[in-house]
């Protein structure tokens, strides 16, 4: 296969960045997209050039770090997959491809196609956890969870934090990520005590990071490698609303709508 690639090259976060054109010959349809980039990089190194930086780890579609935007679609045209699991047979011979990093104010480019997704980690640190240590996995019957609930929680828990939802959203919103994290713990018994606090803290941190708001465009769901449903966004909205009405530990520590502040979760 022959390909013409326009790849975003950016030396550092402060560098302005630009597209550089590369011609790739004899790529095979059996190669993954990353292997095709490996081949390009080998040629660049042989010619004494700087290889294209892109993030990758598992190359099995699990870790969620290999994201990039290919011809305007996060993770490329196949849908429901990561770039490492995208194969060159998904493209036509002679294709012209624009390859760009995730673009978001909250994801500064580190180099070329590698972005800093720490903003998502900080959202997790704000509330995406259960404070009480529960030890090792308990005997399955000690806490009963219905099969439907367990499966729904697992669907949400599939989120790898890859950031494709942010990259694809016309508003640069992180709502699918946040919703998946709020829902995954909020569905399970262990997540109940902190459910309100979690929803508020994670949404607040999401806003602080400079992400946009959700307009229900549904682009996130379309590119999510794990096909996480926007139903979780509705659920997270519900949780956030309920928390604001009935829990509301405001930043100033004043009591919320119901007049009672749950002290046990305050620092």
């Amino acid at each position: 296969m022959r390909l013409t690639l326009y790849i975003w090259r950016q030396k550092s976060t402060t560098d302005k960045g630009r597209f550089v054109k590369y011609e790739v010959e004899n790529a095979s349809p059996e190669m993954s997209f990353l292997e095709m980039l490996d081949m390009l990089n080998r040629q660049l190194i042989e010619r004494g050039g700087e290889p294209v930086a892109f993030e990758h780890d598992c190359r099995e579609g699990i870790c969620g770090c290999c994201g990039m935007v290919i011809n305007g679609i996060a993770n490329g045209p196949a849908g429901g997959t990561t770039v490492c699991q995208l194969y060159m047979r998904h493209f036509k011979d002679g294709a012209v491809l624009y390859i760009e990093p995730w673009r978001s104010r909250a994801f500064p480019v580190i180099k070329d196609l590698v972005v800093d997704r720490s903003a998502l980690d900080r959202i997790m640190q704000a509330g995406g956890f259960i404070s009480v240590r529960t030890g090792s996995a308990p005997e399955a019957h000690t806490i009963l969870v219905s099969k439907e609930t367990a499966e729904l929680a697992m669907d949400a828990a599939e989120c790898t934090g890859c950031g494709a939802c942010v990259a694809a959203c016309p508003n640069g919103a992180a709502m699918l990520f946040v919703a998946a994290k709020i829902s995954h713990l909020g569905l399970l018994p262990q997540g109940q005590p902190e459910r309100d606090r979690r929803a508020q803290a994670m949404v607040r941190q999401m806003d602080r990071e400079g992400f946009g708001g959700c307009s229900n465009h549904r682009e996130c769901e379309a590119v999510c490698p794990k096909r996480i449903s926007i139903r979780f966004i509705a659920r997270a909205n519900r949780d956030f609303l309920r928390a604001s009405l009935f829990y509301s530990k405001s930043a100033s520590g004043k009591a919320g709508a119901t007049g009672k502040t749950k002290r046990c979760f305050e620092k």
């Binding site: 326009y6 960045g17 597209f19 935007v69 011809n71 305007g72 679609i73 849908g79 624009y98 760009e100 673009r103 978001s104 104010r105 909250a106 694809a168 016309p170 508003n171 640069g172 919103a173 709502m175 949404v203 607040r204 999401m206 806003d207 400079g210 992400f211 946009g212 708001g213 959700c214 307009s215 229900n216 465009h217 549904r218 682009e219 769901e221 379309a222 590119v223 926007i230 139903r231 966004i233 509705a234 659920r235 997270a236 909205n237 519900r238 949780d239 956030f240 609303l241 604001s244 509301s248 405001s250 930043a251 100033s252 004043k254 919320g256 709508a257």
Partner: protein, 217 residues
């Protein structure tokens, strides 16, 4: 900070305000449309509707007040969210392809601003009469038929109905998500609901200027 201020400061909070005020505006839009449709029945029926409207001044002004508040909040939140959303991606994509976002969802702010502009014109035209050449304060039937007799004006009314329909095509679907109303029982009906009601609104409002233009009234 007060919890309401805190709530409104968040993006889901603003979107929630948009959703609630959007539903209020939509409810009014439906009532208004049903009222307007009386014109197809004849001058007396329309006057009956108008008399009903002015029968209880207290109610009339309450409705106007609620509408004004809803519209103001809707517009303020719309502008704030749009500014925020545009700012979240300082470097734009060189190539952008959408998989799900449709024309209606991507143009909400433009259809919204168009509706607001038309709303102002419409008030000056049919309520205050300041831009209506043959305005007679007490004769609604006359004002509508003579006002919409001018083709560019009636076409503007038809276009406004279509734009409102486009706004609602996304809005009435989206509002469920925002309010957290999602369940396997009715999720598959939300699209149909929005499509049907946006069509009803477009055809309902559009039918009046079209009828005047085609001289069936």
């Amino acid at each position: 900070m007060h919890w309401i201020a805190e709530f409104y400061r968040s993006t889901p909070g603003k979107k929630f305000v948009m959703a609630v005020t959007g539903v209020v505006l939509f409810a009014y839009v439906l009532l208004h449309m049903v009222g307007n449709l009386q014109i197809h029945l004849g001058p007396e029926e329309l006057r009956g509707y108008v008399r009903l409207r002015y029968a209880a001044p207290g109610l009339l002004w309450t409705v106007r007040f609620v509408l004004l508040v809803a519209a103001t909040l809707h517009v303020i939140a719309a502008v704030q969210l749009t500014v925020r959303n545009r700012g979240s991606r300082p470097v734009r994509y060189a190539v952008r392809r959408y998989r799900e976002a449709d024309y209606a969802s991507r143009t909400m702010i433009f259809t919204g601003v168009a509706i607001a502009a038309f709303g102002v014109y419409h008030l000056l035209h049919m309520t205050f009469g300041s831009v209506h050449p043959e305005f007679i304060r007490s004769d609604v039937y006359h004002n509508v038929t003579s006002g919409l007799h001018v083709p560019p004006v009636s076409l503007l009314y038809v276009a406004a109905s279509a734009v409102l329909g486009l706004h609602l095509y996304h809005g009435l679907w989206s509002v469920f998500q925002t309010l957290g109303l999602s369940s396997p029982i009715y999720d598959s009906w939300r699209r149909a609901f929005a499509t049907v009601f946006s069509l009803v609104v477009t055809l309902g409002f559009g039918s009046v200027p079209l009828a005047v233009l085609l001289r069936t009234l």
